[in-house]
Symmetry: D2
Subunit: 345 residues, 4 copies
């Protein structure tokens, strides 16, 4: 198959290029741009020299479906809302890594994103791409809204508990930490090296765009839930997300009982690893890979469950999961292109 | 005055040396050791060359009070439990930076520290040195148990709420993050550079020794409180602690109301800075200084208060607060030796 | 005395504010700006909250000398060339931290800086502020051109050898490494956290503006010297410069002989520390301080001398040396405001 | 083929495991140990959970050749000197990542390594595995001495110049910088996070073990050369080496001329990338990959050539090149198992 990437000069695009190189069913990757036509991708990314030597080209709706079979949108806010329907209309599959199509309720979208929502028709076509929990719908989707990085780590960590209604839904606190790559490639004061190194920051207090995305899915699993507290932080590192999650168990439980539940739920999953008793994952243990590693425990003293979930935000939190969804959409083995072992140290 | 340091080759000791150089009332610093007698301090710390050129000397109970007026213990677990009473008995003031004397209940100590508690007599003499909240007792103390780094950031952040009984005591979650210097100077697998850089780790899940210290003080402030959930993490940086704290307000409130409370409580404090509306502190903003910076807000959606409290763990979380307590014990201005401006960037 | 800072929102300005707080002869610091009039300095730098609460004000040539006695320029290229003569003309002392006034030959300046040189009259008035080697001239100067960060580390490291004409002047290689703070506070692709962390970069190959500055001074010391090879690199850290320098000895020598030379030359210097035999300085050992630490050796096998010189680029390489020069100009003890102990770890 | 790894719990071993997972001709990897028999590899490396679930087993000379066809030694000094001959004697190919077999002259080895050299018979059998420059010998070798990390970056960068005798051999200065992973997995004071972060260090001044290895090969290429100055430094990052190299050109040349030479020499090499005019590689641009990227220029002012050569020390500087050599020994395509794209950012 041939695939296209829109937005290849961002980090999501670069990571798609890295991963697709190992994909057994991809014969060609075409790079589309709305503004940098004619630029060789390795002028922007010297690390791709001799690996990808091609130029960015303009999007042409008349010919795009002759050129590629699927298109990944690794684009800034608003781009996918504007273009994905048209491109899907040509017959191409669309996997959208941006946040444009994730929120089903336009008012909620507009409240949190402070911009106009995509058309309802488009939003309704878009299938939420949390692969492990939405495979059936993804299989027949033409447009997939790839989950955000924080929601991926968070939802995979909470799913076994919420789908089984084991926790007090009013008690959930999600304290999340991310490397800086999630902020993208545009220089800014907050990610300026001298300001970010040897520093740790909370940001977007009670206002992060991923809150409604997390709540939307959790509510589907346990409709008693109406909100969570989710708080992101920036860590002086490039890659990696950890969600540390705290909640009251509805009734007394034990580490062993919970572990068995998680092992049952995720035992056959290629990319979710439930860690052993007493072991909690560090972000580096999934570095560069598509794994989501989960550790958990129950504290008898407080009656609280703690779940620690880690991913590489650029892989499982973005480009890796996008390829995983692409694989599901096309009936490929889910691990195609995603067999990379975590890089350690 | 002349002061002594036991354990000058650790990070707490080195920081005392840095800060005491600027103390207007210290004429001499004597370095004591139980194992490295005769070693010049700058063999261990080349950065002190030409600043401190002196040798470590053995502790001699017969002469120590002729040599110094106060002794800082920057020592490993157990040392202070064994020596501080004898040294205080010679007439020296004792400020203990270790955890030996902080927990009032020996059973609680033994449960969490997994070692024998100090004698009850000694523990009862030791005054808990959370300066801003215990000045009167510190003023007349001979032995001060200097608070732990996490408890300092956490307790200063929670105090206005807990002393006014404004929060649901069963709802408190403290998610804490620390640089690696808190782990001390002994090399270990967990703080090996190649394992720690580009990595973020949770540790001591539900088991950290600072939990009973935090609970003991919070319970004093609001005796309805019997436990909290406190979870520490390691950040790939050297200095800095952030405690992000979540709790339900007992009744609806507002950011403004809370801010006014904090400004009232801390308005005259030299080392606590309540940040402006919408502003949350990053750890680097107190780097190398004795400040504790606090940001806070209230989320109407969830009914939760979020408090973000940051310190430099080596200063306000250890050696700086120790000097602050020493100042209180001796009637000096509290800022003596502690006027350093945060180093930024 | 009262002093002014132009450019307080940059890193050089912020460091002046940090250091001047401890200066025993400064009663007031006035902050000047050409573009941010009315802004409170701690809106730009929250770490200065409660320490500096003042607003930036416009420069007024009619009144500036009534307001302050000396002015530090911590300004972008060109600003000092335009303003320093006028401000000096009002009677204020000028210490210029920018590169505008360092190069004596306008053609050389224009070749390397690619911009018009300051007026010859101004350049001739400006005294090069390498304190340890130019005290007499600085003492009576009204305008001091504060050295660049790399030249400071490099020149202090080479001076004893060059002034004594001990090395083959055609053989000098200076391989320099700097933290990112030297690149200033403006975000850029090269210092974007995700691009800079876990990365090491060479830059400005054979083209760095500090080359002519280094050569100009070395040529003064040994006029057989006409050029050097100087190559800077960016290290994933915020503060610190190391210059590793290699050169052929004119005749066989020994580590001991060289060390004795350096100790003789620098034995009475407050801020230059010649390290012990076999000991080479790391950048962190001068972190936050005004020290320049030097280690050196001679290799019999190759006939080469290696000199390793480290400074904190923001202190001895900029604001610290500027204050040191200010002290010399005013007959204060040279260490006034500069007694800070390196922060370690 | 089946291969064995001795020393799988070190970083070289872990990286072999990461890379071999993608090798098309490897059916099984057996993990040998001399001290940790029975331990599951992912107790030591949790990131390998579900990928490698096997136990370490003891080496048995009687059966090893029934178990594997080739053995990688990722072992501490001395181990290979003792074991590689016996294991090669069973019929297994040996690729030794340690420094035991690289130095041909035992006296030189003993001088620099301060330990007894391997037997001359063994050393003479061992072929130096700088793949790009020694393919013919490697093809028929049974024992390959895999080059050190610094020598790999350095020699690949210098080879075109030295083999063509274009430089003044007395003028070569190699200033090298490495991430901390090169120091291995054992915790030490020098690589303790709090001591290494925000720090830059020179080490082993004129004494590094890689000096004789570099000189031995350079001398082969230009036997006028008898020594170089090589100086390593530690960078606060995990992976990556840069060698910045300075030397006098024998006669005037130009960037273009040099670039053409390098392109001619390396134009067909899969893993050496000569960068475009004016472009110099940063270490992150080869992160996690087997590339060696080279930038270079000529300075008319000084008559010096500057070559900047970067590798990932754990890949091209160790395990990647080991697999490249294994491929050559077995007639596989050289890129087998090594097609990974650099990870960026």
């Amino acid at each position: 198959m041939r695939v296209g990437i829109i937005g290849a000069t961002g980090y999501g695009g670069a990571e798609l290029l890295r991963l697709l190189k190992h994909h057994p069913h991809i014969s060609e990757v075409v790079l589309y741009t709305s503004s940098k036509e004619g630029m060789n991708i390795n002028e922007s990314y010297p690390h791709l020299m001799s690996i990808y030597e091609q130029e960015l080209k303009a999007i042409n709706l008349d010919s795009i479906n002759d050129e590629v079979d699927a298109v990944f949108f690794a684009t800034p806010p608003g781009f996918s809302a504007e273009w994905s329907e048209a491109i899907a209309g040509t017959g191409c599959q669309v996997i959208d890594l941006s946040g444009d199509l994730r929120i089903k309720d336009p008012k909620t979208y507009e409240l949190w994103y402070q911009r106009e929502a995509a058309s309802s028709a488009l939003i309704n076509k878009a299938v939420y791409g949390l692969t492990e929990w939405n495979r059936e719908a993804i299989r027949s989707a033409n447009i997939v809204a790839n989950p955000g990085c924080y929601p991926t780590a968070t939802l995979l960590g909470l799913a076994p508990l919420l789908t089984n209604k084991l926790v007090d839904v009013d008690s959930i606190i999600i304290d999340a930490k991310s490397g800086t790559s999630g902020a993208g490639r545009s220089p800014s004061a907050i990610t300026h090296y001298s300001e970010m190194n040897e520093n740790f920051k909370a940001y977007q207090i009670n206002k992060h765009k991923h809150i409604p995305e997390i709540e939307q899915q959790l509510h589907k699993w346990d409709n008693d839930l109406s909100f969570v507290t989710f708080q992101p932080h920036l860590v002086p590192m490039v890659r990696g997300i950890m969600s540390t999650m705290y909640m009251k168990a509805k009734k007394e439980t034990s580490e062993q009982e919970l572990r068995e539940l998680y092992q049952t739920v995720y035992g056959n999953e290629r990319f979710v690893r439930v860690r052993r008793q007493g072991e909690f994952p560090a972000t580096k243990e999934v570095y560069g890979s598509n794994y989501c590693d989960i550790g958990l425990t129950y504290d008898e003293r407080t009656g609280r469950i703690t779940v620690v979930s880690v991913i590489d935000n650029v892989v499982k939190g973005a480009s890796g999961q996008a390829i995983q969804n692409f694989n599901v959409m096309n009936g490929f083995t889910e691990e195609a292109g995603l067999t990379l072992v975590p890089m350690y140290p």
